[in-house]
Amino acid sequence: MNPKNITQNRVRWIARVSLLGFALIFGRLIQLQILDHADLLQQARTQQVKTVEVQAPRGTIFDRNGRPLAMSVPVDTVIVNPQRIPDRGVAAEILAKILGLDQDELTRRVETAFKAGRGYLVVKKHVNPEEANRLKHLNLEWVEFRPGARRYYPNGSLAAHVVGSVNHEQEGDAGLEQGLNDELQGHTGVVRMTTDVRRRGFNTEIDSAMMSGQDVRLTIDRRIQHVAERSLAKAVIDHNCKTGSLVVMNPHTGELLAVANYPTFDPNLPVQGPDDMAGRRNLAVVAPFEPGSVFKVFTIAAALETTNLTPDTVINCGRGVINLFGRIIHDHDPYSALSMADVLAKSSNIGAIQVGLRVGEQRLHEYVKRFGFGDQTGLPLPAESSGRVFRLSRWTKSSIGSVAMGHEVLSTTVQLAQGAAVVANGGLLVRPRITVAGPAAGAIRNVALVEDKGQPVRAIKPETAITMRQLMEGVVLRGTGRAARLDGYSSAGKTGSAQIYDEETKHYTHKYNASFMGFAPVANPALVVVVTLNGASKYGGAVAAPVFREVAGAALRILDVPRDLPDQLTPAAEPEQPANDVAIAELGRPMLTEPIGPKPAPPAPDPNAPVLIGPRVPDFSGKTMRAVLEESVALGLKVRFSGKGVARAQDPAAGTVIAAGEPVRVQFAR
């Protein structure tokens, strides 16, 4: 064969083999790229692309000063794949030691999961960062960390009823956590992360964007809240009450500075059962009660607006008995006649009924509604009660007497604060609010604006409000609310003691909803405080007014409100007053034939006490300079005056027996 032919022959064979090889490669390419493309792409994505849920951090709840009341901290959940664990015993030992678990129990769980063929076992949820870091540094390939978050309440039970709590799925189940769950929660995002062979991510595509929960800034001041809770708890325990609630409110803006309830709970702990869940209700908002004598404030305000009655108008109190459409009603003390100012100061039931009758059913109903009773306040708290104010068509003949002294109506503590604020702010109905706009000092995100309360509505005339302030100040100075007098500040208020109705016996008991509703300073109130103690054996003036005194005094100092009473003379300690202001509850029930409420026994005289001879210092508080002068001259007392206005403080205290010629210093202020 010709060498040339041989070469050509060989070249041809090489070309054929090459062609065949390329054809095979090309065929394989077609198979991979076209025929099996979808399956292979899916397999590749399964291996390379990881879909990750990005948990939206739940918004932080701040108090008004930017201190967090509820915050979420990122935590990991530790998961293992039992099928990939090389030595399950050693693994359980390592995990138990680092995570603080019982080794035997964990070994049993891992073995059980392995035998069941499971590739997924949650070892521990919500591990703390220190534990997680120690475990991560071990680089164990069979351990996986699933990111999550845990809700913490750093102040424990502080404002627990307002803030609320979350369930195991981090969704609100009480308080604002529930009421503002949508704002706080945000939206979980989904991203697709492309990873390399070592499962290291290098590319991220967002499927759905994560939206962080919004922060919420409350009107609550945690310092005032703490004082309120401490004082309320002490009062409830000391007086063997069942529950208690307290509200501190700015009367001008409606901002709630403190909302306290007792018993309280720690929101860091999970709900233990239905009883525990019931204990997490915000009583100040969800539990209406018959307010009793505190309601006389609204009756008298209506009278000032709609009748020709004035504070000095004498009201016939019938020596403590009245026949109201065939029902005989007794007062707690047999007053014959009182000025309308004293009807409020001494909390005369008959006097309040007489005033209510002068106002009339329709106008009294209208004014009760004007003060906001019977309607929800609109707070973003779950299960808020609207209280109860019957329609006029449902009123009986004697209902006007009941409503006039705070029965046959139901009100929450927050509604009472709203009503008191009308008097305190000059006659405007300002809806209470619990959230405030604007970023808190510690906030890193925008703060949700969740409340729009609209403009205040005028409920009563400004002059009526000012008159009511003076009348309510009289309650504190010379009436049933003497225990509510503050050091360094003027105060006004009204006590209330409403009998509690027993659903089982269908009768009113001798347990009271003891309450005090007040504000301070009187000239331009900075805050309204309402205290309610449920199940008290004593009257509101004895158990609730001291709580007002403690909380209001501390709150005014915290808010840096300048004092309006002199420093030098501390108001004298008053002897304990009976402060009987029980509103007769059974007005619409079978008639009462005897006065309600136990009469406190007079203190037994001490036979060993020395007998002093000399003039006894009268109580000048609340009196004008002229009245003090007249009284002191009549008694032969030498008085030194200072200041202007009405008597605010005196030294020595009222009731003190002094030597003849010893001066009495009296401090006046407006």
Binding site: M71, F202, P562, R563, D567, Q568
Partner: protein, 160 residues
């Protein structure tokens, strides 16, 4: 290689063994020649003195052109691939930084929580009690001027 090629050459190839045989027959004491000795030790003298390289004035230009094209192609290739490579590296970096950021934020939140736990009102109250501290009474508080936002109308006594 030459020996391997030889069997493939076929019949037409020359027979160098004849010359070696002749050489052996001349002197029997001579060593036997190496196989293909004439191939390995054959020196063909070539005289290139008369060869003159043909002048090609465009060769240099073609060379530079080829170098340029290859360089541009290389740069284009790099230009096309570089952003992707940078993107890949940046992706790793971004991912790592994100993880670091998350870890730092978690640490920050944990520290903030710890600080809040230590400064909660109840905690502060307990510490204050231990040190004999208590809230001042109103008469012990001296206001230096009317604070902003204060609500009281009038000021009486000293210190207000």
């Amino acid at each position: 290689m030459a020996t391997a090629v030889r069997p493939m050459m076929g019949r037409g190839t020359p027979q160098p063994l004849a010359t070696a045989e002749e050489h052996r027959m001349e002197d029997s004491f001579l060593l036997r020649p190496f196989p293909n000795e004439d191939v390995y030790f054959h020196v063909k003298k070539i005289d290139n003195t008369r060869v003159v390289r043909a002048a090609d004035p465009e060769a240099r230009a073609r060379g530079w052109k080829a170098i340029g094209i290859v360089s541009i192609a290389a740069m284009l290739l790099i230009g096309v691939l570089l952003p992707g490579a940078y993107g890949l590296l940046a992706g790793y970096q971004v991912h790592q930084l994100k993880q670091e950021q998350q870890a730092l934020m978690a640490e920050q939140q944990a520290l903030r929580l710890e600080a809040e736990l230590l400064t909660s009102p109840r905690q502060l109250e307990q510490w204050a009690e231990r040190h004999g501290l208590s809230d001042p009474k109103p008469e012990k508080v001296i206001h230096l001027g009317t604070p902003k936002g204060s609500l009281a109308y009038h000021k009486t006594g000293t210190g207000n």
